[in-house]
Symmetry: C2
Subunit: 345 residues, 2 copies
């Protein structure tokens, strides 16, 4: 790829590079005639400033890094959609990394991130990540970072989450109000902030309604279908099996649904199911899936906005960082409500 440079223009017009540079940037200390000449030539030969040269000079890249566990997860692809949207309007480019839920991979990604000289980082932690030194180091060195969804208390910066506690509380309470007595909760990785918050919401709802906690009904589970099958089987090996399952993620809910079908356990008759998800197809599942919706797109947008706030004000650091809690919404569909329950609502 050949690119025309300022030098080329200068040579062609018999000017110095500095004059051309100034003319291009519309400097007022340049002769209007010269300016026009340069502008026209640049236009004609489609001059585009070399952003790499600018990056080197200004020591910034006008790009931001995004590390997510998996791109191919609707929550994250929606979030990235939102991030790209904001970045596009700011003239920034988005560089994508996947941790594949691996701590090692996440650490390597952060190394790439720094070596790439991105101007900021958006990250949602991997399920394996317990130690966040790699991020702390970056942050201490002055890299603007915003955490979203899967966050950590140990990093003092802006964060964006959905109201996991409330969503979880509402979901659980919904199950209680429709008459369920033994409500299981299947959470994702126990390390994750989202898991902890959702477990708290679950427990709080039980407590409010004076339902004793049965430890055997609280499970942590990986996303693999096999893992889910094991957990379901454990739950049903219980002396008094659960009559409802509240899962802490979209993937888990899908896995449960699939396993329950396989085991010939009827939803919602034998067991109610409610997810924590954002799947567009949730309404089309059999049965349609009750769920707590997270605003993935908005979370992405908000995170990106906060990051650009930080990037554009690196000199004056905010005195205090904030954690933004976005709304969740309980959507009741068929997987959690029987015909006979409906009056009760």
């Amino acid at each position: 790829m050949e690119h025309i440079t300022i030098k080329d223009i200068a040579k062609a017009l018999n000017l110095s590079t500095s004059t051309v540079s100034r003319a291009l940037r519309g400097s007022h200390e340049i002769n209007p005639v010269t300016k026009l000449l340069v502008m026209e030539y640049a236009e004609k030969f489609n001059y585009q400033p070399n952003p790499i040269a600018l990056s080197l000079k200004e020591n910034k890249s006008r790009s931001i890094g995004v590390i997510v566990p998996e791109i191919d997860n609707p929550f994250f692809s929606q979030a990235i959609n939102g991030i790209e949207d904001i970045a596009y309007n700011k003239g920034y480019q988005v560089v994508i990394f996947q941790s594949h839920e691996s701590y090692e991979r996440e650490v390597i990604n952060t190394q790439h991130i720094t070596s790439r000289r991105v101007d900021g980082l958006l990250i949602s932690l991997s399920g394996q990540t317990t130690n966040v030194e790699h991020l702390k180091n970056l942050h201490d060195k002055g890299l603007p970072i915003v955490l979203f969804d899967r966050i950590s208390d140990e990093i003092n910066t802006h964060k964006v989450i959905s109201d996991n506690f409330e969503g979880s509380f509402n979901g659980t309470e919904h199950l209680i109000k429709t008459g369920r007595k033994r409500i299981a909760h299947i959470a994702a990785s126990p390390h994750l902030s989202i898991s902890k918050e959702r477990v708290k919401g679950y427990l709080a709802a039980l407590a409010k309604h004076n339902i004793p906690v049965d430890e055997s009904l609280l499970k942590y589970c990986n996303y693999g279908l096999q893992d889910i099958e094991v957990v379901i089987d454990q739950l049903f090996a219980n002396e008094t099996p659960p009559d409802a399952i509240f899962t802490a993620s979209d993937r888990l809910a899908l896995g449960c649904l699939s396993t329950l079908k396989k085991r010939n356990i009827k939803v919602p008759e034998d067991i109610a199911l409610i997810g924590f998800t954002n799947l567009k197809v949730a309404a089309l599942l059999a049965p349609s899936l009750s769920t707590i919706v997270q605003p993935a797109l908005d979370m992405g947008k908000r995170s990106a906005e906060l990051l650009f706030d930080l990037i554009e004000n690196t000199s004056k650091l905010p005195k205090s960082y904030r954690t933004f809690k976005l709304y969740t919404e309980l959507i009741v569909r068929n997987s959690s409500v029987m015909k006979s329950d409906e009056e009760r609502l």
Copy 2:
């Protein structure tokens, strides 16, 4: 973010930058002792070469651009997953752009792409794109480009598609074999290569089985739910409505399913439905969705591999470019087969 540079190391060790540079790159013309000294210092202070400086020098960026219509579309997010996988192993970074199915946006994206000096471009065309001059220009200037999924005949380069004709043919024939007589086909944007190929497959299957083509059963449709509702209503306003719908994409199939439910039209009893999709949840829909699976991940991987082939051999251009056709697979589920049909298969 402060970064240690070669200059810093040189100063600290009282060497010249060239010596440090050579030592770092393991040059054989350097004193082993000096080399060790430099290496240790670099290690200790976590020296990372500045890729921007390298880019400027070598006129390449070790990054590739990816332009897709929407990240938040399972097909593309899976493809990007594959792309990222290959790029990661090659030490390249992936810069993401969305065209949002808009031609204008796609053109702007290609401008950003060039200005960013990416080393290559992977693109799947927007639904509005009929003119590909913007891509031809880039390609003529020497930018390695690989098209995937939504391709164009007018650009002579490597392309990766799934076998749309065969998939479409098999899907249609499956409907014929299960006794359907009036099979509608709902395609996406008529400009898209995938639409054309899938329509061909559909027509070929009808022809093979001597079923006359009814133009009123061939529809083109945008992804919006409202657009789909209009098309479904048109189809059912027909004197003899269809008894099967073969949709050319995942989103269309979902929209159809949802609309048919709303209209109280039973699938598969009143009408069979089959999609062209890769949704992981297809099996969990009500009814479970018969579909033609595209290997999105593999398509992404293959495209990226081809792109790196081109990037790493820019000097010797391949004499001929190839279009790689990846397998598709018909998966029969409940949306296309009634109990009574099953013996017939």
